[in-house]
């Protein structure tokens, strides 16, 4: 029964003329919950479909059509935030590493110590809001760093797949992911957990 359903969805994803009816509302709701503007959400759905059409031969059968299309949409949403809030975007990777190095003293001890996070994973409302905040924080990063984070942490690509997809070495991927994670951790701490100063001595 379940196999049949998966099979049916696989067949659907290979027929782009069924996409609007099958995935349109879902993607629209997902986008609208993030960008709030229906016109923008519609545009993002269209861009997602067109990007999916171009990448259809790369579709991996291990993920569902929903998962695949939503992953593309998340990239589009981050691109949208990046363009909309240009003033917040860190342009180059070097500047990010200056920021993340600044979390430490020269001695290697913490300068801005990680604060205590009050986490309640059971709250579904929080989960939805969390995704909004995370995508906005991602939009502050240079495109390549945000992309590396999304492929690895959101879409769950292996290091090997990530390196292949981004044409980077494994060592390079660890450095990029470190910068992205460390920056995002701090961004979440400030905007989601409301601890602008970190924990002081």
């Amino acid at each position: 029964m379940r196999m049949n359903r998966i099979k049916a969805e696989e067949d659907d994803i290979l027929k782009p003329d069924t996409w609007v009816d099958r995935y349109g509302d879902y993607l629209f709701r997902f986008a609208l919950a993030r960008v709030k503007d229906p016109g923008v959400a519609e545009d993002l759905v269209q861009e997602t479909f067109l990007a999916a059409l171009r990448g259809l031969q790369n579709f991996k059968r291990r993920s569902s059509g929903h998962t695949w299309l939503t992953a593309i949409l998340k990239h589009k949403i981050v691109d949208y935030f990046r363009k909309k809030h240009r003033e917040l975007v860190i342009e180059d990777i070097e500047t990010v590493s200056e920021t993340t190095d600044g979390f430490f003293k020269n001695s290697g001890n913490w300068k801005i110590r990680p604060g205590k996070w009050d986490v309640n994973p059971a709250k579904i409302f929080e989960q939805k809001e969390f995704m909004n905040v995370l995508l906005k924080c991602l939009a502050q990063l240079p495109e390549r760093l945000a992309q590396a984070f999304m492929l690895r942490e959101m879409e769950g690509l292996s290091t090997e797949e990530l390196c292949k997809s981004m044409q980077i070495s494994a060592t390079n991927s660890w450095v990029m992911l470190y910068r992205a994670r460390t920056y995002l951790r701090r961004c979440l701490e400030i905007t989601w957990f409301n601890k602008p100063t970190g924990e002081t001595e």
Binding site: D25, F28, W110
Partner: protein, 88 residues
């Protein structure tokens, strides 16, 4: 590493790396020791893992009422047309 104790900055790098590959045994032990003694690095470690689980498994929608939101009919038609011409 020449020294056998990691400082916090080094641990933060290693903790991140441990999310992507299995570290050598010695490094794993050094990190474990550091995390037992350092609450900030322990937090950092927990928080990176928490962010990963949230990023991967978060439900995209909070409340049910939003499922009533649908694409407007004219947009639906326009999208179909766009897709159709892109396929040709």
């Amino acid at each position: 590493m020449e020294h056998w104790m990691f400082n916090c900055k080094e641990v933060s790098h290693k903790v991140s790396e441990s999310l992507d590959r299995k570290l050598p045994l010695l490094e794993r032990m050094m990190i474990r020791m550091h995390l037992m003694m350092c609450r900030y690095c322990a937090r950092f470690h927990r928080q990176l893992r928490w962010v990963r689980s949230m990023a991967r498994y978060t439900q995209p929608f909070g409340n049910k009422s939003e499922t009533s939101v649908t694409l407007p009919q004219d947009t639906r038609a326009r999208l179909k047309q766009t897709l159709k011409s892109a396929m040709e």
